[in-house]
């Protein structure tokens, strides 16, 4: 019985071995024969393609090309099917072979023969030490080799120069920032004017309280920023991008500089919405530098004399409506909220800080959000500085020094365009279809449940940023619904629907709210707990930009002109 099993195992092993060898031979022949066929056909296709370029309308050539291509593909998949099936057969055959051989070995098994003496472990250990020492020497040789190769490694060439420059500490004080209008909606981005002694009426057409009016060469939706006697503005169309510096006292265009020679690797045409345009992000200035960004990702920085200090392309933004987030600033850092992609999973969004003087990157933090159009703001909570950002679905606060996340709250949704504001110790963030949310900015981690003071779900804006005087929060829906919400309780105080369209964001000016409609008419509202329009003033041309309030003057960009409004004499 045993012998018969033994013989059977031997035969099975022999048959499985021969079978495996045959299958392997077929696989080798299959692989070997297919190579020249592939090459030949591929060469034939290349030749036909070349011929088709010279005779692009030759239908016969096209048919021939398709036939050859089809043959090539059919052949490829036939060979692949054969290879797959053959490999399975081969593995099966080998498995049977190995098992049969193991059975044969069982029948031929002989026990090991014990020897008399137990080997002395000392020479074995000595040999082991010697071998390990040799291995150690060899490994040391490898490490020395790596060290020697590293001396000339390319990364050493740029290691020092690529390091972020140390913080220079040369940045404007809070007082200097407050005296000027260095960024979108002022120094803190909350739309609260420090200079409140401004005219309560003007007329752009008649020239009433218009100190000067200057034509802006290229269109744009960016708002003016002002430092001292310089007003900066950007303009662009599909082919040109420019930066302008106007004299704040006379309106004279001091200089304009093109930003046109930056190369973006993605050469495909830029798609933006007409409402957004090519120059939507508002510039920033720190009194020495003025930085600008355009819809195609071009970023540049100039000094006050118009000399371009640095410029770079940040990559063409993957943004559904066009880049609209304005630049922000913290100390000597230029902050860019570069949110892109249709979904957070795209992984394209980031918050980037550059040294404003050199353009060198200081830090970059990835953001778990899709494209957004809101502008980040820097706030001081009393305990620390925070950089507040809004996008779908998060309001996220970062440490502006290093870009580390401080807290986040899930209160937004949809296409987030309104920027956050900070007033009365609370951050207010809002977007249409989500909420107006009041968040206490002293949290850590996810604060949706712990730090969101209240949510207000009605009359929400889709473009216009909110404003707050600390007591009330004002929100404005594009098509004319203005609502005041109690900042402490989140309860509606009043709501009013007017027959105007709004895209410009409101400003708190003392006890008044300045709100300009898209026709360029400024509406003066009472900042009290009841809706009351105190008056209006017309620019004389449409405008979607937010005004700058500096030194008793208001700077407003109209569709065609830049206006300076102030009390004459």
């Amino acid at each position: 019985m045993n012998n018969s099993w033994h013989e059977t195992a031997v035969r099975v092993a022999a048959i499985a071995g021969v079978f495996s060898a045959l299958v392997f031979a077929i696989l080798v022949i299959n692989g070997w024969r297919s190579v020249p066929v592939t090459t030949l056909k591929a060469g034939q296709i290349a030749a036909l393609k070349q011929e088709l370029r010279t005779h692009p309308k030759d239908e016969g050539l096209k048919t021939q090309l398709r036939q050859v291509d089809l043959q090539l593909r059919q052949g490829f998949f036939r060979r692949r099917a054969l290879a797959e099936g053959g490999a399975l057969l081969l593995i099966g055959g080998l498995l049977v072979f190995v098992l049969a051989v193991k059975i044969v070995k069982q029948y031929r098994f002989r026990n090991p023969k014990p020897q008399d003496a137990v080997p002395d472990p000392r020479p074995i250990a000595a040999g082991g030490r010697y071998a390990v020492t040799v291995a150690g020497v060899m490994l040391a040789g490898v490490l020395v080799g790596l060290a020697l190769l590293s001396r000339n490694d390319v990364s050493s060439q740029y290691l020092a120069s690529a390091a972020p420059p140390p913080a220079q500490g040369d940045y404007p004080s809070a007082e200097e920032l407050a005296k000027n209008w260095p960024a979108f909606r002022g120094a803190d981005g909350s739309g609260i004017a420090k200079s409140i002694d401004v005219p309560a009426t003007w007329d752009g057409k008649k020239g009433t309280n218009i100190l000067w009016k200057t034509k802006v060469p290229l269109p744009g939706e960016s708002s003016p920023v002002v430092w001292g006697d310089a007003v900066f503005l950007s303009g662009a169309n599909e082919h040109q991008r420019e930066v302008y510096c106007f004299d704040a006292n006379t309106g004279v265009l001091r200089w304009k500089q093109p930003v046109t020679d930056l190369s973006c690797a993605d050469k495909s045409p830029l798609q933006v919405m007409e409402d957004t345009g090519y120059a939507c992000p508002t510039m920033v200035t720190d009194g020495k530098h003025a930085a600008v960004m355009f819809a195609d990702g071009d970023l540049a920085c100039f000094d006050f004399s118009g000399k371009r200090l640095w410029a770079k392309n940040m990559g063409k933004p993957d943004n559904a409506y066009g880049l609209a987030s304005s630049l922000a600033m913290y100390h000597n850092k230029l902050i860019i909220q570069f949110d892109q992609g249709t979904a957070a999973e795209d992984g394209k969004s980031a918050l980037i800080a550059l040294d404003i003087a050199s353009g060198q990157q200081q830090w970059k933090t990835k953001r778990p959000v899709p494209n957004a159009w809101a502008t980040p703001i820097v706030i001081n909570t009393g305990a620390r500085d925070e950089l507040i950002t809004c996008a779908n679905p998060w309001v996220i606060a970062y440490n502006p020094k290093d870009g580390k996340e401080l807290w986040r709250a899930e209160v937004l949704g949809g296409d987030v365009a309104p920027s956050p504001v900070f007033a009365g110790g609370q951050v207010f963030a809002v977007n249409s279809g989500a909420n107006l949310a009041a968040i206490k900015p002293d949290g850590a981690g996810t604060v949706t449940k712990s730090k969101v003071a209240w949510l207000y779900p009605d009359d929400l804006p889709d473009i216009v940023s909110p404003v707050s005087n600390g007591e009330l929060v004002y929100i404005v829906y594009t098509y004319g619904t203005i609502t005041a919400v109690d900042a402490k309780t989140g309860k509606k105080v009043w709501t009013e629907t007017v027959d105007n369209e709004f895209k410009s964001s409101p400003t708190v000016v003392g006890d008044r709210i300045f709100l300009m409609d898209s026709a360029g008419v400024m509406h003066f509202l009472s900042g009290g707990r009841a809706y009351k329009e105190l008056g209006t003033a017309a620019l004389g041309e449409p405008s979607n930009c937010s005004p700058a309030f500096v030194n008793g003057r208001i700077y407003i960009r109209g569709k065609y002109n830049l206006y300076c409004i102030g009390k004459k004499g």
Partner: protein, 428 residues
């Protein structure tokens, strides 16, 4: 004919690994009636496959422990090996496996934005927990890598002890390198050079197929070469298994010192009894031990220093650094033309200085990581010399708990396992 037999086996084991080395086919470049299917996002993992994987691992570990320690059945272990090859190998395609999970853990530590999946954490921890109580039962028949080697072992040769000692430092170095590369986000070295994954996935690059073929061929005559001389997870199991309360004990009652178990073990994991040491030898041994203990910090420091200065070359394995190096060379006119990687970078539109800054950051990580890796290598060599200078006392043949993979082969050869008590008494 007998001599040709291993060669024949080698050939047959090598050959099928090349079966699927087929090229991918490009899509048509001209208009046709063919409509490319819409790219489908794979659905997220549901709970039950994860639960099934973890449950089967637990069951397999428990079964391996039962078969090796309680039933002492080599046949049972062999059957379990086949089962685990089938499920963890061919059904799950060798992934996730505890060996590779080391890298996920290292990545989670090195890159906080990476969240360690629960199933990976479970696969990393469960075999280690088992080793702590019942020895290396995971290696016995559960690990698909060990199983592949075990099943093709046909004619085991003894590896000389000196060579075994020298090669035994390799797993530690492989572990250190794998952790460094994973923690810096440079890649999963263990998976990239997994010698058996090509079998379980029935596909692989020519390099992978070559490694597979070589390792399988070697495994027919050397018992588990990957497990003994490369496996980084085996290092962790080696550390924990000696603490196991229940582990492989060859003779059920009393060893008759026939050393048949040592001759039968294909993995060199049986240690013989030690003879008495003379006083002179003991003094010499103590002096040697003190010398190596003094040498230990020197080796650690020297290795660390060399590793630190070698970090730059190692950092070239990280994609960002590699691309940055190339782009820098192109920008400075030191090379002509572009590569696929540099083209892709330029097309993406990321600023060059941002790339260089990112690369510089990673390079610094590698400088520090190189220091740690070099120090680790020095420490391993030093400790190995120390351990080879420590005299251990054994009165019987014993399975080395660190090296024994609990395959159960030795049971069959132990006379005490089978012989009646009176026969054993006579032998003794």
């Amino acid at each position: 004919m007998k001599r040709l037999y291993p060669i024949y086996c080698w050939l047959l084991l090598i050959l099928p690994t090349f079966a699927f080395g087929e090229e991918r086919f490009p899509p048509p470049e001209f208009e046709s009636n063919y409509h490319a299917p819409v790219v489908q996002n794979p659905p997220p993992h549901t709970v039950w496959p994860v639960a099934l994987d973890i449950s089967l691992l637990v069951v397999a570990l428990a079964l391996a422990a039962y078969l090796t320690l309680k039933r002492r059945s080599r046949r049972g272990v062999f059957a379990l090996t086949l089962g685990c090859i089938a499920y963890f190998g061919f059904v799950r395609h060798g992934c996730v496996c505890p060996v590779g999970s080391i890298q996920n853990v290292a990545l989670a530590i090195g890159q906080p934005q990476y969240a360690l999946p629960f199933v990976v954490a479970a696969f990393f921890l469960l075999p280690l927990a088992a080793a702590l109580f019942v020895g290396r039962v995971f290696c016995a028949g559960v690990c698909p890598l060990g199983a592949a080697q075990d099943i093709v072992l046909l004619k085991p040769l003894k590896v000389p002890a000196w060579l075994e000692h020298a090669l035994s430092v390799l797993p530690y170095i492989y572990l250190g390198a794998a952790v460094l590369f994973a923690a810096t986000g440079s890649g999963f070295l263990i998976c990239r050079y997994d010698p058996f994954i090509a079998i379980y996935r029935m596909s692989g690059t020519p390099l992978m197929l070559g490694i597979t073929a070589g390792m399988l061929a070697l495994s027919t005559v050397v018992g588990r070469p990957y497990c003994r001389f490369l496996c980084p997870y085996g290092v962790l199991l080696r550390w924990l298994a000696p603490f196991a309360r229940w582990r492989v004990r060859i003779a059920p009652k009393a060893c008759v010192q026939c050393h048949m178990c040592q001759d039968a073990c294909p993995y060199g994991a049986i240690r013989p009894p030690t003879p008495a040491e003379n006083p002179g030898g003991r003094r010499e041994g103590k002096s040697r031990l003190v010398l190596y203990l003094i040498l230990l910090p020197v080796l650690l420091a020297a290795g660390g220093a060399l590793g630190y200065f070698g970090g730059a070359v190692l950092s070239g394995q990280h994609t960002t650094v590699r691309v940055a190096n190339r782009v820098w060379l192109e920008e400075h006119g030191k090379v002509k033309g572009t590569t696929l990687e540099s083209d892709a970078f330029h097309r993406h539109g990321q600023p060059v200085d941002e790339l260089l800054q990112n690369a510089a950051k990673i390079r610094k990580q590698f400088d520090f990581g190189g220091l740690l890796l070099g120090g680790w290598i020095g420490l391993v060599i030093g400790l190995k010399l120390v351990f080879l200078s420590i005299r251990r006392r054994r009165t019987d043949y014993e399975a080395d708990p660190a090296a024994c993979v609990a395959c159960g082969r030795c049971y069959r050869f132990c006379p005490e396992e089978h012989a009646p008590a009176e026969v054993l008494e006579k032998i003794q």
